[in-house]
């Protein structure tokens, strides 16, 4: 369990700041710390997941926007093309009809007003939108006219359209006001009169409404505009943004050579899609201005679609929810791992403590044997002297033997007294203690080992060291651990100095200095970490110093170490004169 908890925390430590040996174990479990961790993790996940998501959304949006625009543009082009074709067809049809009338009727027939009127009525019936029909001779004089006005005898020889049709044979005029003061356009066809060596022109006036109707078939919305302009940019139909018929548009309308062309224009602070196409057989260009709509803007598309808004909000909510869930789960995982580690350390601490109690108890058993053996020999000698010799009882000798028994009994009592004292201190409690006495008691426990290995253990204990309020049992364990480490570090015949002093008015200091092998510089900083050990495999769990560190921290003190490889180490334990929390 220890290793699993350790591995989990080691992995998480690489990506998140977690508690280390410098932090008190209580803070590892504090709610504030986990709250802060949750917040940091939430934003970390949001950043880690959000950044690529945003990038994907941007790329996707740009692509989708492009796709939407292209789709719309294609649709618009289609509409414009369709309308253009309709207008083309309309004009082409009327030209063909006029050509037919011109070719199938003689000049004389067309010069007959009644005849022409009949043709006009038939033409109008067939094709509608016809305002008038007239025959003009080669001099430009209106010979016959059928229509609502009296235009017979009118001379058009100076007008551009007359010259144009005379040259080209067919002419579709721009819209113009003319004599009738309303906008119209004219289709005129030339009829050759070879027998006279001249020509005449058959001319029909077309109603503006027709053009307007065709223009309106472009699928327009409220902000859109469609119009026809001539070569010099004069409106042939009404425009929403550019004025009435015969007004000049304030934008450049090029004449594309083929197909429908799209571009963008800025009008009144809005960027419009501007599509234009030429009308055949005329000098006209059809222009369509479409305002950005939902169909051209992804944002607008989404904004206009309640379902899409709802879906986006739902996705964002799900994302936040998932983030929160993951954050909570990870923090709980961290908390569990830390709790497991704490539990494992506490468990190992407990096991270590039991093991150290076991060693002490075994030590007591060994130690008490000696004085018991002495008592046994003394009593045995008394018995031998009485049973096995004939000499009278030497009272002084016997009293000496009895005194020796008494001394050994006292020695046993001291050992058992120490054992009792130790046993009673196994619960944490605070009491006023004499640290020097505590140190001496601990050293007594280690007497045999020190003697056995010929180690010179010297105490330099400040005589009037202030008594401190702390947990004697726990401190005994700390001192035992530190001094044991010193014993392990020195060779046989080595030196250990245990000293006590007043550090300042709030703290006392206990130092354990040895002339052992010392600790390498890079190991010193890790020496108090759980599971760190400089001893060989199988020799120690590496928890003794970590546990001692924890105990001293909990008692409000601190442990530090100075060490030089090859020269030895000094552990300094600083303790408050008043216990933490008092």
């Amino acid at each position: 369990m220890i290793n699993w908890a350790k591995r989990k925390l080691a992995f998480l430590s690489k990506i998140l700041p977690l508690s280390g040996p410098d932090e008190k174990s209580e803070s590892a479990l504090s709610q504030d710390r986990y709250k802060s961790l949750r917040i940091r993790l939430f934003f970390l996940i949001a950043a880690l997941a959000g950044v690529p998501l945003v990038v994907i959304i941007i790329i996707g949006s740009v692509w989708l926007q492009g796709a939407l625009r292209e789709d719309f543009n294609n649709q618009l082009k289609g509409n414009i093309e369709s309308t253009r074709q309709s207008i083309d067809f309309f004009i082409e049809e009327r030209i063909s009809a006029l050509r037919f009338l011109a070719s199938s009727n003689s000049f004389g027939q067309l010069s007959d007003g009644k005849y022409l009127n009949d043709i006009f009525i038939n033409f109008k019936r067939e094709f509608g939108e016809l305002v008038d029909l007239g025959l003009i001779d080669s001099k430009g004089v209106q010979v016959t006219y059928s229509g609502p006005y009296d235009l017979r005898g009118k001379n058009y020889s100076n007008q551009d359209w007359f010259n144009a049709v005379a040259v080209r044979g067919v002419y579709v005029s721009d819209v113009f006001m003319g004599y009738r003061k309303f906008p119209h356009f004219v289709i005129a066809v030339k009829k050759e009169l070879p027998e006279k060596g001249t020509f005449c022109i058959l001319r029909a006036t077309i109603d503006m409404a027709t053009l307007n109707r065709y223009i309106s078939t472009v699928n327009l919305k409220s902000r859109d505009d469609a119009f026809i302009v001539n070569r010099v940019g004069i409106l042939q139909t009404q425009s929403r943004y550019h004025g009435n018929v015969l007004d000049t548009v304030n934008l450049e309308v090029p004449r594309p050579k083929e197909a429908v062309t799209l571009s963008e224009v800025r009008q009144g602070g809005t960027t419009f899609i501007f599509g234009y196409a030429t009308i055949k057989n005329s000098d006209w260009t059809m222009g369509v201005m479409v305002a950005p709509t939902a169909q051209t803007s992804l944002v607008n598309l989404l904004a206009s679609d309640i379902a899409a808004i709802y879906l986006v909000l739902l996705l964002i909510s799900l994302g936040i929810f998932a983030n929160i869930r993951i954050t909570v789960k990870v923090v709980n995982w961290i908390r569990e791992a830390e709790l497991e580690r704490e539990e494992a350390i506490v468990q190992t601490h407990h096991t270590g403590r039991l093991a150290s109690i076991g060693r002490l108890a075994a030590g007591v058993a060994h130690e008490i044997n000696n004085p018991l053996a002495i008592i046994n020999e003394k009593a045995g000698l008394m018995k031998d002297l009485m049973q096995m010799t004939d000499a009278p009882i030497d009272r002084d000798k016997f009293i000496g033997l009895i005194k020796a028994i008494s001394d050994s009994v006292h020695r046993c009592r001291t050992i058992t007294h120490r054992l009792l004292g130790f046993a009673r201190r196994m619960d944490i409690q605070h009491e006023e203690i004499d640290l020097n006495d505590t140190i001496k008691e601990v050293i007594e426990f280690l007497d045999k080992e020190v003697l056995y290995r010929n180690i010179g253990l010297v105490t330099r204990l400040k005589e009037d060291l202030p008594r401190i309020v702390s947990d004697k049992g726990q401190l005994q364990q700390v001192f035992l651990n530190i001094i044991n480490n010193a014993i392990d570090a020195v060779k046989d015949g080595g030196k250990i100095v245990v000293s006590s002093e007043v550090k300042n008015r709030n703290m006392v200091r206990i130092s354990v200095q040895d002339n052992g092998q010392g600790i390498p510089k890079d190991a010193v900083k890790s020496i108090f970490e759980p599971f760190y050990t400089t001893k060989g495999k199988g020799k120690g769990t590496g928890l003794g110093l970590s546990i001692s560190y924890g105990i001293v921290q909990r008692l409000g003190g601190d442990i530090s170490i100075e060490s030089e490889e090859g020269s030895g180490s000094t552990f300094s334990i600083d303790l408050p004169i008043r216990a933490a929390g008092q």
């Binding site: 045995g380 000698l381 031998d384 020796a404 001394d407 045999k448």
Partner: protein, 124 residues
Amino acid sequence: MAKAKILLVDDEVEFASTLAERLNIRGYETSTVYTADAVLERIAGNVPDIVILDLKMPGASGVDILKDIKKFNQSIEVILLTGHGSDQCNSECQSGGAFDYIMKPVEIEGLTVKIDMALKKKKG
């Protein structure tokens, strides 16, 4: 004449001196040594028949002293004194070449039996 020369090696002075006296009463010529480094010197000066040796002496391992004694004079029989018997004690006994071991506090009759058996082995 003494039954045998016995050298008692133990750092507990009161114990060793009293046991020595008890063995003297029982007809043995017993001397005592209280430190590990004095053992070989004493043996060299006056070779004992039996050495009764405490297994745990300060500054030295009882097994090392045992081996030194055996190296000095193979014929000296050694009986080890120990606080608590164990398999480890048994193996230390055998590996060092000791005759036997006895636990403290010492049962004097049991000790004298082992001393006599060791002497028999020595003569045998």
